[in-house]
Amino acid sequence: MRSSIGRIALFTVIGAFILVPLAQTIITSFVSTLPRAGIAEGHFSLVNYQNILHSAALKDSIVNSIIYVVLNVALCLGVGLPAAYAFARYSFAGDRQLFFLLLVFRITPTVVLSLPIFVLFAQIGLANTPVGIALVHCVFNIPISIWILEGFISAVPREFDETAFLDGHSLPSFFFRHLIPAIAPGIGVAAFFCFIFSWVEVVLARILTTTGGKPITMAINALFGFRTDFGLVMAMTVLAVVPGIAMIYFVRNHLAKGFVIRT
């Protein structure tokens, strides 16, 4: 009994540590921080959120962010699933080296690759578009999706595949009819990790969107200036966090069930 009270107390402390800095952000987002006609500075107001609705640049940035993150997650799962299946079920020439290569690219700092990626993408017309960001974030997200999916696929017994093949399923039809439903939680967890790492990345997103196609993160950067409207900045931050919290909420039970990652 005593230990469970201690545990709850600790969780409360941690919850407070996480929430208090965020709470201040949320409060500031509902306060008018610049002198305006009709609203006293420092008082409660919805003016920041109204300003977002009235700004085409800010609304576009939200759309851009959603486009690139959805594309990125789809790409990473689409190419990650067959690759994870290959790693889970087969050994082949160079498989360990390839796995190591993926590991290296996952942990390579994005700032190292940013200069050549900028030059390369500018030449082929992928700079300043959400598609470019979606593609470039694959460098660290494909390894993540392969790792996570590989763990889930390995947990499915091989007989499961063999039965399906005996029933006359081709590989693609086995993937869609049997494998994907069987590892649905794994796909959710992999999508969650791809989402969080892509949504928050700023180094590559910044260098690729100097003139257009800015995601939310860069639109917020552009708000800083001589007289920064902190209320507006905080309102955009709150909006930037909402889709992430929705993602967390959807996968919370899968995160709690546990998964295995191979290294």
């Binding site: 545990r7 600790l10 201040q24 087969y90 082949f92 190292v112 909420y249």
Partner: protein, 292 residues
């Protein structure tokens, strides 16, 4: 046993094509730049290893390298035990508490990286911030701008706030995938809580934890946006980490020197990844076997 079949390459091919395009090709290009003086990209001038010589002979480089290692060491030694401890406590809690804590603790992970320092600067602002006012009220002269120790404290606390969730999620995933039979066997042997942790939970968590260590090490070692926004490497370069120099050089379009610096950092990453892999695969069979 896995089947040996080289046709599996067809399955990894799409992933490999994309990684080649956004990872390997840029890496080759940056290697090429690093040996040249590029006033503009159309006028390359071969300079050989000059940029590399400049980097490895500069004291500034070793000083930043040391600071980056120190930061990673501090961050790991706080976040790893804390994350494992929280995960262990979660394992003994009911489903509702687990979900609530996991949802709460992962929220900072979805905050865009450039906003994390803004949130914290707002929070510790002595005039408007909750923490800033609190510290002032307690009479603590907290000055993150001019006191190096205070800047470090802000960075470490902020990084822990940001990343603790990842360690907890991974550690908890590792713990909850342990079959109950292991605990029953431990209970029959009257194993103490410490023994259960040392000989069942820790070995079983090894793979996910090594993942957590690697991700946390590299991300903290190359911390950039967060550290830059807090104090721009100051006071007096006390928080000038490795990636800050690289970021500055890229922003001022020094292609050659920044490319050489990128390659040096990539080699550090490669060494770390390789050492890490060698260390974890060598220990694997031993860790599973309970000591007598």
């Amino acid at each position: 046993m896995k089947l040996y079949d080289n046709r599996a390459w067809f399955l990894v091919l799409p992933a490999l094509v994309i990684v080649t395009f956004v990872g390997i090709l840029p890496l080759i290009a940056v290697t090429n730049y690093s040996f040249q003086d590029l006033f503009s990209l159309n006028n390359p001038y071969w300079v050989g290893v000059d940029w590399y010589r400049n980097i490895i002979s500069s004291e500034r480089f070793y000083a930043s390298l040391g600071r980056s290692f120190l930061f990673s060491a501090i961050v790991l030694s706080i976040q790893l035990p804390l994350g494992i401890w929280i995960a262990l406590l979660l394992q003994r809690s009911n489903q509702f508490i687990v979900s609530t804590v996991l949802v709460l603790i992962t929220v900072p992970l979805v905050v865009p990286w450039n906003m994390i320092p803004v949130i914290w600067l707002n929070f510790i602002n002595p005039n408007a911030g909750l923490a800033g006012k609190m510290l002032a009220w307690l009479g603590i002269g907290f000055d993150y701008k001019f006191n190096a120790l205070h800047t470090w404290i802000v960075l470490v606390v902020m990084d822990t706030w940001h990343w603790l969730g990842l360690v907890v999620v991974l550690a908890y995933a590792g713990i909850s995938s342990i079959p109950t039979a292991y605990y029953q066997a431990a209970a029959i042997d009257a194993a103490s809580q410490w023994q259960v942790f040392r000989f069942i939970q820790l070995p079983k968590m090894k793979t996910v934890l090594s993942m957590a260590v690697l991700l946390r090490f590299m991300d903290s070692f190359m911390i950039y946006i967060e550290a830059f926004r807090i104090n721009a490497g100051g006071p007096d370069s006390a928080t000038a980490f490795l990636s800050l120099d690289l970021g500055e050089e890229i922003l001022s379009f020094n292609y050659g020197p920044s490319a050489a610096r990128s390659i040096v950092y990539f080699l550090i990453v490669l060494t770390v990844a390789w050492t890490f892999k060698a260390a974890t695969s060598a220990r694997a069979p031993v860790a599973m076997e309970p000591a007598k």
